[in-house]
Symmetry: none
Subunit: 222 residues, 4 copies
């Protein structure tokens, strides 16, 4: 059995077990046993139980980030890119439900604290997500296909929160709507939210300089 085989066996087993009974309920002994390796082997390859988790995290995130980058690389307009991202996002998490479940459900709090800090590789990956959202939005803003009454980065953070939250609640079975429908809704509503302002006559006037006056007024009109 080559190293690679052993490593893959460990990762595959860990992924399955984490998904089925949660990170903290899975023991290293179990992973070793079901992967058919000795417990010490886990430590040779990954250093610690957390190390296994972080490797899975990295791999899943890598694929996710690469996917988004691929979409951006197509060079489509911002609006279209946002559409394509939405479809990609839900396809990705649907097809890799196990991996995403782990990421979204199990990320241990202590890892959050330790590894979401400052310049950890994990934190960097997470920040890249926001950056990619920002690039999508910035492109749309630049090409006029998306209208942002708020700064790009802030909007990107909020948008990312929305996708994250809807996906996580779905993963936790707190949402009944099936994934494909969720994808369609997210696409439709966000395209509208980031589309031209609601009042037709407002469109030609001030396309996207600032929050359109009409909604702005209404918001605090009470």
């Amino acid at each position: 059995m080559s190293d690679t085989t052993r490593s893959r066996a460990i990762l595959a087993t860990a992924s399955r077990l984490f998904a089925s009974r949660g990170y903290s309920r899975t023991t290293t002994a179990e992973i070793a046993r079901e992967a058919g390796v000795a417990e010490g082997t886990l430590y040779h390859h990954f250093g610690s139980k957390d190390g296994i988790f972080l490797t899975l995290f990295d791999e899943t995130m890598e694929g996710y980030l690469a996917g988004i980058e691929g979409i951006l690389a197509r060079g489509a307009a911002g609006r279209e890119t946002l559409s394509a991202f939405t479809r990609f996002h839900f396809d990705y998490v649907s097809l890799r439900k196990e991996q995403y479940l782990i990421l979204l459900r199990d990320f241990p709090v202590h890892l959050t604290v330790e590894h979401f800090a400052g310049g950890s590789p994990q934190r960097k990956k997470l920040d890249r997500v926001t950056k990619l959202f920002s690039r999508i939005l910035a492109r749309g803003k630049a090409d006029g296909t998306l209208h942002l009454p708020f700064p790009v980065r802030e909007t990107a953070e909020m948008l990312r929160g929305s996708f994250y939250g809807a996906t996580r609640l779905k993963m936790l079975d707190l949402i009944q709507t099936p994934f494909p429908r969720l994808a369609r809704m997210m696409e439709s509503y966000w395209l509208k939210a980031l589309g031209p302002s609601q009042t037709p006559r407002a469109i030609p006037a001030a396309p996207s300089i600032a929050p359109s006056p009409a909604p702005g007024r209404r918001r605090r009109s009470r």
Copy 2:
């Protein structure tokens, strides 16, 4: 020291400790010591460490649900109610950051599995959130202030996911945008997303996956 005092001391201490070092890193011995009671007293009142957590969960959720119900009770139009909810939501989690942090960050996976199941009191509370979202949206749909191209319940689930996700990422410090700004953005974007359609004839159509031609033309208008 009355019963209530003791119980409150335990809950307050547990809340503080859970928030500061996470649920699993907090020991029952610590809670007891810092609350000034015997360890057995924890079990007398709450049955288990999980029981303490779930009590905190229930109390925080109770206040949250009551707040939303209060807003609905005002009888304002759907659109205005959604606005009010948005402000309430971010005020609530800002003011009770500790409690919400616990709920959003620490909810242990094993509790998720055990207590989000079917008819648990916790699950019921969570489902009530979706129902309240649905009531807001249904009101807006009825009075014409909100426009939903998708079913009320599904939209409510997605909307809830968005609020949840943005809030959780903020709690995890993965979002830099400050809470008030996050609140304003969520309000603004969602009001627009649920506002009157950009072009009336687009509503009945399936959510367009391809970017609509009109905005596409307008790009680079900046």
Copy 3:
């Protein structure tokens, strides 16, 4: 509710619970709850959990001892008294299976050590059993209806061990033979064991003065 009623309720409940799940698996909280009294009440009446057990022990033993004494008081011959005792013993334990189960199965080791010592009331009751066995045997020896090649007291101890062991194994379900049959066998075999010596010609010779020479020789004749 009078004291007596409360005490009886506690004893009855404890007896039932001890029998169904064992002494150590039964908690004072359970006893109190199911008896419908406060936990403190247990301690007012019996001082401790062990106190409840010992009270049950005493009551069961009292009935048992009184039964044997009643049989002895009839003044029948030793052999007949032994017969009557056998029947009484198995009737008693059959009819009060719950109580006897507790005595025979659950007597906690620490109580054994503490309360079987020297002059404890419990130890005295146990010693009275042996004394009553001795009285039966002594009567039989005196009236010639029982033949003991060994001292009365030693034979009594062994006899008691036999009854005790057969009964305990039956209580533990390690013996399949039903109680009535067990009773008949014990009676039959022990009457024979304590009957006139096997060799017919030995009977008229030396009825019961000393161990008959024949069996004595045979024992080590190998």
Copy 4:
């Protein structure tokens, strides 16, 4: 220190401690400390405190069963085999008083319930004892050296109960008669009980519950 050494050290220490202060009064921490191993090692080897106990049980029983089988293998007549068994039994428990004390005194009730059930290895061992008793009796019945007015299996169960009870009461110090004397008595009385009938015509009769008239007349002959 080899595996075997460690395991043996744990078993030897546990045996000593169980015998001296009882199973439930012995803590796993004590066993580990006195055996010179880490507490985790106990669990590595035996899985639980109960596991240690059951291992001791198995080993003691194994030796006991092997001893009886050895006696049967000699091929002696049934009566002689019963004699030999009696001597073996009391020798065995005398020489291994510690182990037998544990088995006879400490077997925890919860283990009784869990491990005496149906097909457990422990139950099987206990049932083998009865089977070996049956083989002894069956041999004696076949070769005419033992006389059983009751079925072999039932007699075996009762006989086993007798040996068990006398031994247990001795272990609990409720019997004063020393072991060797106890052995002689058991041998003598049971050989007689299973010997040829006193009066040939009494054999076919049902075990007389009423005292036989002849001895009855003889009473008060002292």
